[in-house]
Symmetry: D2
Subunit: 346 residues, 4 copies
């Protein structure tokens, strides 16, 4: 019963097969492989963005940090939520890659509203050399609490950014999960919604380790290439990144995997609703379920072999409520989900 | 006829199989996978270094830059040769990761002598706050020109470093090729020869993208872990790095592959010796062959489909001599080698 | 009627005279001048800290950023208040000098409590390589809102820091104003209260531009010297910094100036208390007075030539309350203070 | 007999008087003082550059590092000579401020030729993401060995830079000494000769600590302001920098001081020519004299109280030749010069 993270599961068979297929003969290195040419064209096509600059890196933190460094000056603030991965989980990679940008926290959780963003930007004095300067707006889709920005919400947020002349970056570590949940086009969730750059995650949805970084304005291309190399993120045997992304995108494997993951989470949530000890923190919108439960229940589940994320006072008393994160990827079986539901029912 | 680089070929089958074998079920992420536990123990054992800190990253530049940043202060110089990969091929990754260290160039090519190193260190004023400070000594084994440091040479160089209290780092992108050429133990070529830290390359010798970073003094462990994460080089699905290294080391696959690569280069060199147009730049010691040839010969070989590295004035006249680099990996066939030799003979 | 800042006034005559006295003949450069030797000894003596490392720089931001960079690793958080000068007024100098440290904000204003600090540190996961790591605690004395930490408060805060093994740094841009207000010894307000390093401001209290940086543990000395030079803050004609500090400290000029400044602020506050339009934001404890007033009152005062700091919606309606900061240095005259009080009374 | 450096002497009386004159009443801070307005206008006028962006900082290293950081990307090389102050004497300040740029050394000493520069730039591969990229060309005028670039030499060098699209920066720590030696206009030695930005030194020629940074293209203005503040080099009581520069420029004090310094060095050189033990290293062109002498002679001069710069093996035998640097500022007396000449004659 493994719900710890969507970075714990195996590759999707189609991705693994693409890697194996690519593993033959000689290929040019450092991103000049023909597989990458195909991937680039495919991404431009599915995003309806024929000019987009498209790159691959191996980790989500690299995608975020390199893209933000390309968009932000060292003396600028990146507007993001307190729970943003870039704020909580990247050990100052954004600060390192940007040369000392500051993360300015908007809202109190995993989502920001347009009003909150505007107020935060307004509180950031403009044109005063003493203060932090206004920089990019970063949005995570799916959010770190498993929620979504609707297209309307995205439009409202990027309108504020545009009003102040600030670029926008979408952390799409779970891009596919959001896309199938919103049931919109790639363009609608990104550049048509005012997003300037994004990471399109592969790792959490069936790849071994690959993320695409996409700039809709190709003016950033060469700088990003230099930053990627200088950050030691340009792979010599790049074909193994290209092949993952190829296997991921071809035949809509990525969308199929994301639909499966979301459906698995929905099945899990449906089953857990009848468990009186559990309280839902947010309505699950993609592939993550957040609930609270008493510490003694956690101890029981844990002892039975269930694995999941956990926050709170682990040394509190038995009734103290903890927060549990349950993540489903495409590969988790209905048996495992149902077994956990049964276990939770006690 | 593909001799461009040892980063152009496929994975060794044993490495690919280890990746496939690891590609099942759930595994803890971010380096806590059980495969990594095995890899760590194995590396400690084969290096006779039970306390060593052992980490994996995906690129050689990451290995070099992160290790040097752990050993060097931002105001220190790294002593290396002008042709060192860290100086020529990493787009300032060492400067970036160290926070602005300077590369101080020793000698005129790919190797330095103990006397050159001493003279360079002596020219670096000690304890004067105005100047660059003395920092780590970096040695590449196999060198960028395909040569080796003998054990005596390594001892002499590290003795100088130790005399000045400076740490030593070995860029072992082609570590295995050197090891089998010198026919010594891993310990003899590293810590017994005074090396404090090294990268052990996998990518150029049969892996898809993995390098081990090894500190013989574990005091550097936690700082390296933080630097790796902050540099966005900690893989979530780390098992795929671990598995590569596992498949690489098990059953001495890595040594077998290196022996094959070196033998391939020796076969190539032997065949090319009788070509009057070619002059050897260095005696090949591992898996690379450097020769000069007239530009018209390059044009002929190139037109015939041969692929290799090339330096010099590509727009000079037909007799102008260019330098050609021919690299053999384990996978290149005798047929391909012999075909190239025949082609070169004209 | 100039209350804009204590960096707007002239040098104290004793400081100016010391500069003139130093302005003759040849002196060794870069901090090796004999005047500095005297300053160092004097600071060690008045702090009862014979081992302290003592340095001079020309700006408060340099003092803060260089000291914090010496105490913090790039992956660590500096715990400070939201209104801290390092957070609000230094254009990312702390982030730049530390190589990307993050400022973690404690409390909601200019002061933090020990409980708030503890809670914040506790919220900062320890030993998890993914997150920001715990780093130094920064306290400003006098705070940015003109308030003081009592000795008990300082003890409580540094006890928390010590409990977690974190160093403490005091931004003492207005150190003298605090010291005379608390009427304690220098040691009592610093190392005896658990402070590890501090800046002792001269610029705001009668100097042209000089701040001392003091580490009570001299182990930081050489690293600080390198950081100061690398930051371009080591003066060649250092005697002019030394002389300012000499003139400032000799004969307790600095304490006399701070007493005058505090008394001026007290006189101002006393006079303003009877102005019905004004509301005090904080009880003035040193040389700054914060009041709110309706926008129309600001317009009247401003039109009459009064100069001061102002926060709020400058385009609101006439009754909208703005916050005004009035700063007194040693040089402001009773006439100017009384004239402003009369003006405010309307 | 003090010839150690032109940063050892006092302020020129006119500079000291300007500081005293400025030391009264209240003035706006952080560079908005009216004295600065005058200085800016005056510099634009004497450079015939009405659009130039003009800033003041307190150290030459700050001027160099901040200007280069404004002109260079972190992945670019700065082309300079091996003896350049930025390479030898700034403890990696350029690397720090640029975020990791590399200094690429041209020529073998203190001057570069256009051919050497072109060859070096050509050796720097263009458009290859793996390598260091081409960046600004840095020239020092007066050079670190007391020599000058003629106007023709400057034109030739900047033509090469322009051909490759690279900006040029002049380190003018001894700008005035060069200007009066070349007897040309400020514009002729700078923008008319193809220089894009420069530092105009005050500290070595009669100020306490001030350097102007001038960009002939004002597009760099706001970025430089942010970099200066972030580097902690923006003075709150900026009037004391402005006043120094005001006193320095007014009435051509700076040119008068430079002429005196150069004449003092010429007198010294003339006297030393008849000393058989001394050999001139370079023909003195401004205010510095470089000679070699046997170690025993140094010991004799040193024992007699002469102070100067010295390079070489200080522990060699008595006949071993050392290199001596003798610097004259405007303030050194003919008596002191003549006394040293007599001493040297033995």
């Amino acid at each position: 019963m493994y719900f710890a993270s969507d970075n714990s599961g195996p590759m999707h068979p189609a991705v693994a097969q693409a890697m194996i297929a690519a593993d033959t003969g000689y290929q040019p290195s450092y991103g000049t492989d023909p597989i990458m040419d195909g991937v680039r064209e495919q991404i431009r096509e599915i995003f309806e963005a024929p000019e987009a600059a498209v790159y691959l890196v191996a980790t989500g933190t690299a995608a975020n940090a390199l893209a933000l460094a390309t968009l932000a000056q060292p003396w600028e603030a990146v507007f993001c939520t307190p729970l943003a991965h870039i704020n909580v989980d990247e050990c100052h990679a954004p600060e390192f890659y940007t040369g000392g940008a500051k993360l300015s926290l908007v809202g109190a959780g995993d989502k920001m509203t347009a009003d909150q963003l505007r107020a935060r930007i307004e509180s950031w004095t403009k044109g005063d050399v003493h203060t932090s300067q206004r920089g990019p707006v970063q949005l995570t889709q799916v959010t770190e609490m498993g929620r979504l920005y609707t297209l309307d919400e995205l439009h409202a947020l990027t309108s504020v950014a545009r009003e102040y002349g600030l670029p926008t970056f979408m952390d799409g570590a779970r891009f596919a999960n959001a896309l199938v949940a919103l049931d919109c086009s790639l363009a609608e969730m990104t550049w048509k919604a005012g997003i300037n750059a994004l990471s399109l995650g592969g790792t959490k949805n069936g790849c071994a380790g690959v993320e695409a970084v996409i700039f809709f304005d190709p003016k950033h291309a060469w700088e990003f290439e230099l930053r990627r190399k200088r950050g030691a993120h340009l792979f010599s045997k790049h074909r193994y990144l290209s092949a993952q992304m190829q296997g991921y995108l071809n035949g809509d494997i990525w969308l199929e995997a994301a639909r499966a993951a979301n459906a698995n989470a929905a099945r899990l949530a449906a089953g857990l609703r009848s468990v009186p000890e559990l309280e839902f923190v947010e309505e699950p919108a993609a592939n993550m379920v957040f609930v609270t439960l008493p510490r003694r229940e956690h101890q029981r589940l844990n002892a039975a072999g269930a694995v999941y994320g956990l926050w709170g006072d682990l040394e509190g008393d038995a009734d103290e409520r903890l927060m549990m994160r349950l993540v489903c990827d495409w590969s988790i079986t209905h048996e495992m989900i149902d077994a956990f539901i049964e276990l939770a029912k006690g």
